[in-house]
Amino acid sequence: MSTKEAKTEAPKTAPAETKKLTGAEMVIKALIEQGVEVIFGYPGGAVLPIYDEIFKNQDKIKHVLVRQEGGALHAAEGYARSTGKVGCALVTSGPGATNAVTGLTDALLDSIPVVCITGQVPTFLIGTDAFQEADTTGITRPCTKHNYLVKDADDIAETVHEAFHVARSGRPGPVVIDIPKDVQFAKGEYHEAKKLEQQFYQPKTQPDMAAIEAAVELMASAKQPVFYTGGGVINAGPEASKLLRELVKETGFPITSTLMGLGAYPAANKEWLGMLGMHGTFEANWAMHDCDVMINIGARFDDRVTGRTDKFSPNSTKVHVDIDASSINKNIHVDIPIVADATEALRAMLDVWKKRKYKADEAALKKWWDQIEKWRAKNCLAYKSDSKIIKPQYALERLRYFTEKDARDTYITTEVGQHQMWAAQFLGFNEPNRWMTSGGLGTMGYGLPAAIGAQMAHPDALVVDVAGEASILMNIQEMSTAVQYRTPVKIFILNNQWMGMVRQWQELLHGERYSESYTESLPDFVKLAEAYGGIGLRAETPDELDGVIEEMLKTDRVTIVDICVDQKENCFPMIPSGKAHNEMILSPDADQFDKSLV
């Protein structure tokens, strides 16, 4: 940070403004200037001066007391993901900071803008193994986009402003500001946020027009094209989703998306192929494999998407739009790289397409769609329905039916496991920012705090955490937070009593040796909900299901719904790790699974 610049600017501010403030006062003032409305946090010795200021500024900034710092980070992520704003967390030094590490890593992998302020022991104690000292900037350096240790109160305001700028610009991500306690007490000068063009960090957002023109020309000549979109479209803001819809409409090309990109394109539209990747649809993965032109917008060729890279989409010419140049050519070689913000790239593509009066090759496209329809006819998500046991897929279909009927806007979060993949497959998303899941890190325990964060931002919306019984226990303490703040999230547990995803891999890949994947002594989730002051409901048979869902939607209280589902159900389709897209396994041929692959 260059303090010099800011100092020379100071005389511009009114005399009253130059009155010195304490570090803690400036933290809160800077957060308010950045538009922060909610902070998720947990107090402790090293952040007490800041907590003091929170007490004094209750009317301007709301603090949500989580029950473990990990929850604060996921809640900030849920808030950020559902609003497009930067999420904010505040934790103490030492254990507070180390508890935040999982959430920071989660936000890094999924490119979620979060600013986390951590308290630190006083500067004169740093390096002495002081009480609750941890090398926070050292620990968080690899799991943040950037981090700061502020040693001078004069630097506080500028650091906070820069942290927000870094978190939200370019490829978004988590930023940590570590503030020693003596710096929180010390007086310093407040500086207002610098203008955008004065910032040191200036990521490129505008596309190279020659590359856009080459990409659009390629699209116009494509015979078997596919759009492959990702979280970058969501991160670029709602305008990107709008432009994407328009581009798909103009071209008539099929579109699939990653787990992180769901909702950017409506699942209800006919061009939508469903999610791709390890548990993606047959039609999406085969279209990726057989296409001749692939247009990747804001996705990063993750290994869960590509499967075996040397057999990935062997015959296609690939366009890749990404705001992060280091994501391009990292896993898959592409032909037309475009470093840009998704909104800008999509806008430019549409402009060129229209100006040049390009038309898709209708005849070729029809043949391509005929082929896709044949793949669709496989009906890859089909499952055997049952009149006695609730199939997890059926439970989600009913959830979708009732939430679509509900007048409220619906936000879905998930934990990690089979239920997460089924939710992605079965709940159709039609708008961006409505789907929050831990994609890159796969963090069990993400869903409940993320749901609280989303509900904080959207008090009138319906927020449902689709959960597994194992994952939910990882951050179950946040029930208490939800009840305290009357954020009436609904926890929809697909309770199969197993770590289902682990059990599935053990069944298919480890000779059915179910090592430690069954949970004995699960709590009674209905009583657990009641113990926390929420409502508990349970469905054990398919005919109880609808009533339970309706009741869940009726209540304005925090609710756990314990859906007792088939314990043996596996999640299909599935591309085993290291296999190609065209080697995916559908549920009826699961028996042919090559179990020797370990």
Binding site: T309, D310, P576, S577, G578
Partner: protein, 192 residues
């Protein structure tokens, strides 16, 4: 990273062996960074975290007014990995500019070495004679030792050290490579 991937080829992992690795190339990168606390750790952390190689590293503040430092790293990897290294470095917030001097073209690379040789008699005289050939200056001498100062390319420094081994080499301190492009151009005038 590459080594790990190569090993996988033989194992029965469910993961594919990964793409075939091309030949390794050595590249000299000049990285201009804001000289803020932790910036070196951040650059190094990127290399260790992503399994890239560092063959040589030098760092010092080069612009005291603006507080900018120059890190020179010699790294080796396949052409794809080298590209990846450069792009990942550019993503770091305090990194202002990354230039690959190897692909940029004509440039000068120099190392400074201090080399201590302890010997007497014929060996002592021979070390002095060779130092003269290499234009290494004795900067400290006692009756049974010399400290030579030598600047030159890595190869030249290596060669001198090899020659000193039988002549009583006891200690070596090297700076690592500092590098700069030839001619009037600077980093700031060139964009990729």
């Amino acid at each position: 990273m590459n080594q790990a991937k190569r090993k996988n080829k033989k194992s029965k992992s469910v993961y594919a062996p990964g793409p075939d690795q091309g030949a390794l190339e050595s590249h000299t990168l000049a990285i201009i960074v804001k000289n803020e606390p932790g910036v070196l750790a951040r650059v190094i952390g990127l290399f260790t975290g992503r399994g890239y190689n560092i063959d040589s590293l030098t760092v010092a503040e080069t612009d005291h007014e603006e507080g900018m430092s120059r890190i020179t790293i010699v790294s080796s990897g396949t052409p794809e990995v080298i590209e990846q290294i450069k792009e990942s470095l550019r993503q770091l917030v305090p990194v202002k500019r990354v230039r690959d001097l190897t692909t940029f073209g004509p440039h000068i690379e120099r190392e400074l070495a201090l080399i201590k040789v302890a010997s007497t008699g014929e060996r002592r005289i021979e070390s002095l004679r060779l130092a003269d050939v290499f234009r290494a200056r004795p900067v400290d001498s006692t009756l049974e030792s010399f400290v030579f100062e030598l600047t030159g390319t890595t190869e030249k420094v290596d060669a001198f050290i090899d020659l000193m081994k039988p002549l009583g080499l006891v200690d070596v301190s090297r700076t690592g490579v500092a590098a700069i492009s030839r001619g009037a151009t600077t980093h700031d005038e060139i964009t990729d």
